[in-house]
């Protein structure tokens, strides 16, 4: 009756083996490494970069214990922190000869030093949160109202030119809060205006207002359009942040959206918050200027004699380009940039949308400069970069601009990204900041580890003393629980924080409850005169219902924390919930399997090593 079928033992064994494999990487620790990744969207890190890294290090005689390429970039594993610093300096010099204009991010990093076969299985050490490894955490709030206002302003400018084009007389167009108000003198014009708007502005919702000679048409953005603008704004800001953070040289930055209008930025290992904030808060601007193609001017500029009113830039392909200083258009006029395809040639292309004022200027400029080149520059920190420099083929009106020709889909995507980055959709504000020094992080790990270890030791000592062999089994089950929990955390790569470690400790402290329940039940059955085998059987069976109930109530609390918690609470809740689930398995199934292995096969079992059983002489209540 106390025997498990073979498959149950196999499941337990399999779970233990898997648990062990995925826990293993945590024991190997991490070794110092240097990571080289691209600082620019237009630059890709590939096998050639890998070669370059390897040869650079070999030539300088720096020994590395492995270089490889992954989605983040090239990573070099090194044997100690001294060589790590040396390698970083070397690679920095090699990859970024001009320190003022970094092309690559060369950052210090840590790599799991577990053997290759483990990494190939996807077994990685637990992902440590910022409070354990040190770094900066920012929560940024995107000013959606600002984004909307900007959009509505550009829409009202569009409406003005639309009315003019269609020769509809209106008494003024203006933005009032989050709506656009268009005034008309008579009903007929208003109907005409309404029809025109309905045909040309699908994003707007229109309503009539006013009477007599003061008629109004109220235009508001449709909810779908509103949502699209907000989503675009946050995506655009995240993209911009990505580009800027690259400059900080952070190995594994985390940039994620939180809620509808917030962005979390986590920079592990960064200590210089002032610089980080400076870079995050910086605004990039986009400028469209004409290319100076006076014969001989470029050659003169190359020789050091830049003509008056022009500047020398380098194009993406590496060719020099002479650009006039006079700005034709700025990024404010650009409302969107998307990668796509040319309708006729099916070539990759970038589609730009300009607002009405921008379209008018663009139309004039293109009319006067057919056959010439224009340059789109991204200006950041007073330094410009040529994003693209297309040739003007015809006059372009209507504000829809397409840049195409000799670019891949990838390049079109990158260009669109850069163009959008130049016109940051909405202002952002830092609403939460957390900086944790590296020493504090290491200290937190030790403290968390010690708490768990001593707590575990105390519980083990007590359980074994009190329940003898059954205590040993309970402790083994508890150890299995710890193993499963750490394996799960490593497998899921859930972020482990200090509250998370506290949750591990607490999970162990609570998980022992199940074993206490079982052991007490078995003792009680023995006290009531059951045979040892029957006592084990009923003890486990009866305790299970109680264990389930009590764990579910605890789980309810955990889930509530998971749903509503943020930051440290969430870190706690994740581990807490996982801990409850693993404890159900380990306390009931694993401990039963052990007990069955020990006692299950003995037919004539006289007694159980579960500590002293004391039988009272008379009982008030005897359960039957």
């Amino acid at each position: 009756m106390n025997r498990y079928p073979l498959w149950k033992y196999l499941i337990v064994a399999l779970a233990l083996v898997i648990g062990f494999i995925y826990t293993l990487p945590n024991f190997f620790g991490e070794s110092p490494a240097v990571q080289v990744s691209s600082a620019k969207a237009t630059l890709k890190v590939d096998a050639r970069t890998l070669d370059r890294v390897t040869t650079t290090l070999k030539e300088a005689g720096v020994e590395s214990s492995g270089t490889f390429l992954d989605s983040n970039g090239v990573k070099v594993r090194l044997k100690d922190t001294d060589t790590q610093l040396k390698a970083k300096d070397l690679l920095e010099k090699q990859f970024n000869p001009d320190a003022g204009d970094p092309q690559y991010v060369v950052a210090l990093n840590l790599l799991s030093s577990s053997p290759q076969w483990l990494t190939r299985l996807g077994a990685l050490p637990m992902y440590l949160g910022l409070d354990l490894r040190g770094g900066v955490h920012f929560l940024l709030q995107v000013d959606m109202k600002g984004a909307l206002t900007k959009r509505l302003d550009s829409v009202s400018a569009d409406l003005r030119s639309l009315m003019r084009d269609k020769t509809i007389r209106h008494g003024g167009i203006g933005r009032e809060g989050e709506r656009i108000v268009i005034r008309f003198r008579d009903e007929e014009t208003r109907t005409k205006g309404r029809n025109v708007l309905e045909d040309n502005q699908p994003d707007l919702q229109l309503a009539d207002q006013g009477e007599g000679s003061d008629l109004k048409l109220i235009a508001t953005l449709k909810p779908a359009a509103l949502k699209r603008i907000q989503e675009l704004a946050i995506k655009q800001n995240m993209g911009t942040l990505h580009n800027r953070i690259n400059e900080l040289g952070v190995a594994e930055p985390v940039i994620t959206q939180q809620g509808a209008d917030r962005i979390v930025v986590q920079l592990p290992g960064v200590q210089d918050t002032a610089k980080a904030k400076d870079i995050l808060g910086r605004t990039a601007t986009l400028e469209i200027r004409m290319v100076d193609d006076t014969p001989g001017a470029l050659e003169a500029a190359m020789g050091g004699q830049v003509p008056f009113g022009a500047e020398l830039y380098v194009e993406r392909g590496g060719r020099p380009l002479l650009v006039k200083k006079q700005v034709v258009l700025t990024g404010d006029r650009l409302t969107d940039a998307q990668a796509g395809f040319d309708n006729q040639t099916q070539e990759a292309a970038v589609h730009l949308s300009l607002d009405s004022a921008g379209s008018r200027i663009f139309k004039e400029v293109t009319r006067e400069n057919v056959g010439k080149r224009m340059a789109i520059l991204l200006i950041e920190k007073g330094k410009g970069e040529v994003v693209t420099a297309p040739v003007i083929r015809t006059e372009i009106g209507g504000g829809r601009v397409q840049i195409s020709g000799s670019m891949s889909t990838m390049e079109a995507n990158d260009t669109a990204l850069l163009l959008r980055a130049g016109s940051l959709a909405a202002p952002m504000e830092i609403i939460e900041e957390r900086t944790i020094g590296p020493s504090l992080g290491a200290e937190n790990i030790t403290k968390g580890f010690h708490s768990t270890m001593w707590g575990f030791a105390a519980i083990s000592a007590f359980m074994i003393a009190y329940y003898m062999l059954f205590g040993v089994v309970s402790v083994l089950a508890l150890a299995a629980n710890l193993l499963f929990l750490i394996a799960l955390l490593s497998l899921l790569q859930a972020t482990l924080t200090l509250p998370g470690i506290a949750a591990i400790a607490l999970a162990l402290g609570m998980a022992i409850d199940s074993n206490v329940l079982i052991n007490e039940r078995i003792r009680e059955e023995l006290r009531n005169g059951s045979t040892p085998q029957a006592a084990i059987h009923t003890g486990y069976d009866r305790a299970f219902g109680t264990i389930l109930d009590s764990n579910i109530t605890t789980l309810i609390a955990g889930i509530a924390l998971l749903i509503f918690g943020s930051g440290p609470v969430r870190g706690f809740a994740v581990v807490h919930c996982l801990g409850i689930l693993t404890s159900l398995f380990s306390a009931v199934v694993v401990s039963r399997a052990l007990i069955n292995l020990i006692y299950g096969r003995r037919r004539k079992l006289e007694s159980l090593a579960i500590g002293q059983i004391w039988k009272p002489g008379n009982k008030a209540v005897q359960a039957k």
Partner: protein, 314 residues
């Protein structure tokens, strides 16, 4: 080894009134302190800036205060944190000041007046975040209460659900009362501990209720108080051992976890101690007064006669 050698059922219910009066008094006292003193909320809830610095020698708090005062900071709290070398500085939110620069300017002021400080941790929380956290905390509490009541009502009986939640909410209030009385810092992790304790103590009541149900079903001719006494007596050894074990772990956190985990562990300790008391000695009498009786468990059994009733019955 066996600690509990109880011959007869202990007549807990005879003293039910006394236990509940004690509970009520503690509860009222906690409420009183909550209102008169209020919680000492952490920066996470109030918004503001928290800076933790470390000195190689014992820090001179007066000097730090004076230095920061000179730099134009008013309404600051400077205190030791964990050891005499660690100092925690709290600054309130200021509308006119650029919040993002505070960390650096405080460090500059410290280096001028009380040199030798290394920055360990900066936390800045804007006003909108704090408000949201308080809201989410209350929502989480509400969800836990509703979830547990529903589950217990489904699994047992509404009387059990109501008594369990009352008994355990009273624990929560008492924990908060302690935090108000001693003006310990109430942070997000303390909130997490409070909610975890709520789930944990309810599980204590569940174990007792399980026994109550079982006794009602199996033994005839006992009055309700006798059934409750029997249930409590037969689970008391498990109650003490379980909580003792959990407390061992929490104690370890209290001793080795450092300043960050200190209040977290403290909240758990109070929660565990009062959890035993309330779930056993408060929840059970409540069930009794709400009028639970044998019929509540026998009737449905007859209706589902022949059905598989074995699985969930303990």
């Amino acid at each position: 080894m066996e600690f509990f050698r109880i011959k007869n059922d202990i007549p807990f219910m005879r003293h039910a009134l006394v236990f509940n009066v004690i509970s009520l008094l503690t509860f009222l006292l906690a409420v009183f302190f909550l209102f008169s003193r209020g919680l000492h909320l952490s920066v996470e809830f109030t918004g503001g800036t928290l800076i933790e610095v470390n000195y190689t020698q014992a820090a001179n708090l007066e000097q730090i205060r004076a230095g920061l005062g000179k730099a134009g900071y008013t309404d600051i709290a400077v205190q030791n944190f964990g050891s005499s070398q660690d100092v925690m500085i709290r600054l309130p939110l200021k509308a006119e000041q650029s919040s993002t620069k505070i960390g650096e300017s405080v460090m500059a002021a410290l280096n001028a007046e009380a040199p030798g400080a290394t920055l360990r941790r900066v936390e800045f929380v804007g006003p909108q975040v704090g408000k949201e956290l308080a809201e989410n905390g209350s929502l989480a509490l509400l969800l836990v209460i509703v979830g547990i009541v529903l589950y217990l009502a489904m699994r047992f009986e509404w009387r059990f659900a109501v008594s369990a939640i009352i008994a355990n909410l009273h624990d929560v209030v008492i924990i908060l009362g302690f935090f108000a009385f001693f003006q310990w810092e109430f942070s997000l992790s303390v909130l997490a501990a409070v909610l975890a304790v709520l789930g944990y103590s309810v599980n204590e009541s569940v174990v007792v209720f399980d026994r109550v149900r079982e006794t009602f079903k199996k033994v005839r001719g006992l009055s309700t108080p006798q059934v409750l006494d029997h249930a409590i007596t037969s689970t008391i050894s498990r109650t003490i051992i379980t909580h003792g074990s959990t407390q061992l772990m929490v104690l370890s956190m209290l001793l080795f976890g450092g300043a960050t985990l200190y209040y977290f562990a403290l909240a758990l300790t109070i929660g565990i101690c009062f959890g035993i008391y309330s779930s056993v000695l408060v929840a059970s009498p409540l069930v009794m007064w709400l009028g639970v009786s044998r019929e509540h468990f026998i009737k449905p059994k007859k209706q589902i006669e022949g059905a598989n009733e074995d699985g969930a019955v303990v």
